[in-house]
Amino acid sequence: MGNVLVWITWFLAAAACLGTGVAVVSMTNPFYSALSLIGNLASLAVLFLLLSAEFLAAAQVLVYAGAVMVMFLFVVAYLGGRADAPWAGGPPLLRAAAVVAAVALLVEIVVVLGLAWGDDLTDPAEVSDSFGSPAEIGEAFLTDHLLAFEITSIVLLVAAIGGVVLGTTREKEEEVA
């Protein structure tokens, strides 16, 4: 019984994930696009939960769907009508090439998956209930992966400073704007 429920949850989350993904790419109004991405991130969080990554699912909703997307929506609101993104052109040949490239990528991945399916992708490892819990993630981060942890903090600091520098107006630009 539990098995069937997990399958149904997986199917709904995967369908929502792909549907909102298509919506993000195809919308002409970036505001709706960003809202669809929030749905996409939420359904991905469900998939993370099914893969026993509890902490990551929570972080996904808090950091991504919460903080990052709010920042995004603020910028879309700031740009107003200028943010509109019509499906304008580009050479047709280039667009066809883009579709071919994306489909080729997809086929490649699926073929590799099909080849590996029999031996490597079934019978997942036994994991304890605490696998992926905040305590385990925190312990791994602060022992084995301390360097990655510290470098991540520096990356975020640099990005924050960079964002401020890029967003600062100089006197000369004020006159134009």
Binding site: V6, W10, A14, L18, G21, V22, V24, V25, P30, S33, A34, N40, L44, L47, F48, L50, L51, A53, L56, Q60, V63, Y64, V75, Y78, L79, A83, A85, G90, V99, A101, A102, L105, L106, I109, V110, L113, W117, L121, T122, P124, A125, E126, F131, G132, I137, A140, A148, T152, V155, L156, V158, A159, A160, G163, V165, L166, G167, E173, V176, A177
Partner: protein, 103 residues
């Protein structure tokens, strides 16, 4: 034993998601949509990392996914900063037009 679908099914979802994101990056010309499509691609990679972490019973994949999340947040901050700077300079918000790296 894992309830529900095998890890491979998650990987297929991730592959399709990655394809959708790649299509968005290549087809759309608005920098905002390109940024959102990039997020989709990063998240597809995250799903793959977490699926393999579950398969191997090893937390390293989840740690990597967290690092990817932090990098994605940094990327959005810089990308939005660039878009706002472009808008301030009255430039057209079109990635095909913004081909020269000069103010």
């Amino acid at each position: 034993m894992m309830d529900g679908p095998d890890v491979g099914w998650y990987l297929i979802v991730a592959a399709i998601l990655f394809g959708i994101g790649a299509l968005g990056v290549m087809l759309r010309r608005s920098p905002l949509i390109v940024l959102l499509s990039l997020e989709i691609m990063l998240n597809a990679a995250n799903l793959t990392l977490i699926a393999f972490a579950r398969q191997q019973g090893d937390l390293d994949g989840q740690i990597f996914a967290l690092a990817v999340m932090a990098v994605a947040a940094a990327e959005v901050a810089i990308g939005l900063g660039l878009i706002v700077a472009m808008a301030r300079r009255r430039m057209l918000l079109d990635v095909d037009q913004a081909s020269a790296l000069r103010g």
